[in-house]
Amino acid sequence: MTKPRLATLAIIVAALAVIAFAGLSGALLNLMIFMMIIALAAQGWNILGGYAGLSSFGHAAFFGAGAYAMAVLQTRFGVNAWIALVIGIALGALVGAFIGFLSFRSGLKGSYFALITLAFAEVARILANSWNFTGGAAGILLKLQTGLPYLQFADRRYFLLITIGCVAIGLVVSWWLEHSRFGAYLVALRENEQAAQALGVDVFAVKMKAIAISGALTAAAGCLYAQNYLFIDANVAFGSWISIEALFAAIVGGSGTVLGPLIGAIVLLGLGELTKGLSGGIPGMDLLVFGIILVLSVAFSPNGLVMLMKSLGLRAPAKAKEA
């Protein structure tokens, strides 16, 4: 497995920042913000699903926790947006730890883990939908007020920069994983839990840490979502769409790789916009294409676009040699 260097990551982040200020139209700016939010959610998924091999179908639980923390803290308690962001991220980690504690203690993995995460997200959705504290079914509206302390900007390029910054943190976390004991342990337990245990890996503790980090990153995406769209309800924050989108982006881009989630999010959402233009208003076309891409990428490029690009890059000179 080839690993990107820190410098490469820096260049990518810098390039994103440059694009942000390259005079994009509002539509493209908005799309890029959404791409970054999904990329961040996917980075979170990738820690658990990619590196640790625990496929979650319920990352909406973390996304929603972040989004609701952001919205409730600001609207009900007048908490500063930045502090709300930090608390939201912490809450994501906490929710992760809660779900993790219950499921990992029972040794759930594979299909069972996918199912239980799905169920937790659904329970969260139903609760948020019926609880007055979370605005019930009406959801929560955030006040539009621009300025640095409100984490809202009249010029949305600044907000885009903040989302890029968060994605950069996600990249660094993944990069660190690939260069640390913790990351090696994650991969080890993904590949073979027993063998990892035999080598002294405290599997439960490692999984707990992984789900907490994973939850925190995806919760950050939820926080940014709430702050960008200024309206959330239970179906937006805890709906299965975000669980699926996070998983899609990570897998299509390359699960268990540093750049996979980011590339996956950009490609998928970009493609979604394209198909919207091409489908001539036939409903469901964009998601239909998503589904086909997912199946194709599992079938023909199980390691994602990142690896596909690499292998194509490696194969090309080899062919040249033959010729």
């Binding site: 497995m1 004991r181 090696a184 590949e191 063998a195 035999a198 002294g200 890996v201 599997v203």
Partner: protein, 247 residues
């Protein structure tokens, strides 16, 4: 160093290991043999902590470790290999070994350095960046041992490291095992290949149908009629002796 007392394990009514006891002296190579299905691997799993026994106890360096989780035992210095090799497929050889080395160092470059050293020691020095699935069977067995060694064990549990190897490969691995012992690691090994057992082990235990039926030096154990019967069936010892007398 390791004291196993009356370990018992039942699987839904079936007794897999029945009151088995053994002890391993520090610095020795101890063998555990027995016919297929005797319960050797189950006994191993209980010693390493992967299975909880239904009765009996395991103590290590004078401490009762019966209830400890496998990773805690690994930290205390017990490492094991698996009969069916279990490499981490997504990692290359060096990274595989480094997972073991991380037990004593959180530092990535240090772990990778140690991994390279150990790889050299077990004869995988040239394969550091190979994917674990690209190795030969013998290579994977070496990797299995290397990973265990990287945890700097005091007691190494080897589960049929020689199974599936051809005679020349076996000849190559035997000195490796001895070398490991000479470096101060105590070894308990399950082995089928008698040549290896006779060659390496100081003491041998024989497990049959979950019970420990014999123990002692390899040579004496091999002549034990009970052992022969366990391997070759009821009356076999009698027949064998008769044949020998005849010859």
């Amino acid at each position: 160093m390791l004291e196993v007392k009356s370990l018992t394990k039942r699987f839904s009514g079936l007794v897999a290991v029945d009151q088995a006891s053994l002890s391993v002296a520090k610095g020795s190579i101890t063998g555990l043999i027995g016919p297929n299905g005797a319960g050797k691997t189950t006994l191993f799993a209980m010693i390493a902590g992967f299975l909880q026994p239904d009765g009996g106890s395991v103590s290590y360096e004078g401490r009762d470790i019966t209830a400890l989780a496998p990773h805690v035992r690994a930290r205390a210095g017990i490492a094991r290999t698996f009969q069916i090799v279990q490499p981490f497929e997504g990692l290359n050889v060096q990274e595989n070994i480094a997972v073991g080395a991380y037990l004593h160092t959180p530092d990535a470059s240090e772990a990778m350095r140690q991994a390279a050293d150990i790889a050299k020691r077990v004869g995988l020095g040239a394969d550091l960046t190979k994917g674990s699935s690209d190795l030969t069977v013998a290579g994977r067995k070496r990797l299995e041992v290397a990973r265990a060694l990287a945890t700097q064990p005091k007691l190494l549990l080897l589960d049929e490291v020689l199974a599936g190897l051809n005679p020349s490969e076996i000849r190559d691995v035997l000195p490796l095992v001895r070398d490991i012992r000479d470096q101060g690691v105590t070894i308990l090994m399950i082995e089928h290949i008698m040549q290896a057992v006779m060659n390496l082990c100081d003491t041998v235990y024989v497990l049959s149908q979950g019970r420990m039926i014999a123990q002692g030096e390899p040579k004496t154990v091999c002549e034990d009629p009970q052992v022969i019967e366990a391997y070759l069936g009821h009356g076999a010892a009698e027949r064998l002796r008769a044949e020998q007398a005849h010859a």
